[in-house]
Symmetry: C2
């Protein structure tokens, strides 16, 4: 049994599907303050720092604590979740025809120390999206995609946005699951 | 509305999730006979020929017909679905520490002619699997993985088998969905 330092539905679902026993506990963390101190750092470094901070924020357990974070960069610009449908449409117009870089990171803490960390990147090639397509897409996907920094759910209509995806599905879902499972095996939490 | 020349649950699920309207119709086809005539052909060519044959086997419709096929090759050897749990374990022992090549192909027919076809490959790096792990895995995954040529369900415990996956999730699930969506847009079936 591990502790997942996150309430993220997609990260919970990944661990559940693969049979890892965990309890989820949201990390009490001022993400904005941490990021503010890292302006100008590479996206992988920011995602790793946030994953580590989440894992370290859970204390008072002898269990392994898994933290994870992901962020989206297009044209060198970091994107947050859209605040409303109009902003979602603006983001999609900006993504159109570009490569979306999705950085996912994970870190594992034990006894208040980080014992493992890894980042992975997926590159999602967004096709040229017409304005009518964007409206039709948001008719189907809003408000659900309001929770998604990339304005897509890969398990729903998200694939309609892309002509090619480089990187595995777990990185796309926000956590590099295969390296995490490898670390849990090395740390004695899962059978080899 | 298109016709999916397949009753495969994973292909149906992919089209449903992304919002493509279709009706599924199983192609009446002697796959073994077709393959027997292609012994020695590259896996991509065999998967493409089967996808085309499935699409062409549905007649009497003016709709676009989508056929798809996938096959698994490890160490140059083609693997079929395991007949029983003992064979599943044997396959997993053979996959251990190797690269699994998963070839997925799709073809679209209209009016009895193939108008589009494409194959894609995913490479799944299987980690070294211990015999106890294989038994524990099959305790959880048999008999469901009896329907899977690679002896894994990527949406369940399948990720436990792999240390790395190259290729997108749709290719892994048995149909190169992103190129299929691109073709359906070009053929006027989906909005751009």
């Amino acid at each position: 049994m591990i502790v997942l330092a996150s309430k993220s539905a997609s990260r919970r679902a990944m661990l559940e599907a693969v049979g890892v026993e965990f309890e989820a506990q949201a990390a009490d963390l001022d993400e904005r303050a941490l990021e503010a101190g890292m302006v100008g750092s590479p996206p992988d470094a920011i995602a790793l720092a946030l994953a580590e901070a989440k894992a370290l924020a859970i204390s008072g357990t002898t269990r392994l604590v898994l933290g994870s974070d992901s962020l989206v960069v297009v044209n060198g610009q970091r994107f947050d979740k859209p605040a409303d449908r109009a902003e979602a449409a603006r983001h999609l117009r900006l993504f159109s025809g570009k490569v979306m870089h999705l950085h996912s990171a994970a870190a594992i803490a034990r006894g208040g120390k980080i014992v493992w960390r890894q980042a992975a990147e997926a590159r999602l090639h967004v096709r040229t999206l017409s304005d009518p397509f964007i409206e039709t897409y948001l008719d189907a996907e809003w408000p659900e995609v309001g929770h998604c920094v990339g304005v897509f759910r890969i398990e729903a209509r998200g694939p309609q946005l892309f002509e090619q995806i480089e990187g595995d599905q777990f990185t796309v879902l926000g956590m590099p699951l295969l390296p995490v499972l490898g670390a849990l095996r090395e740390l004695g939490e899962l059978p080899k």
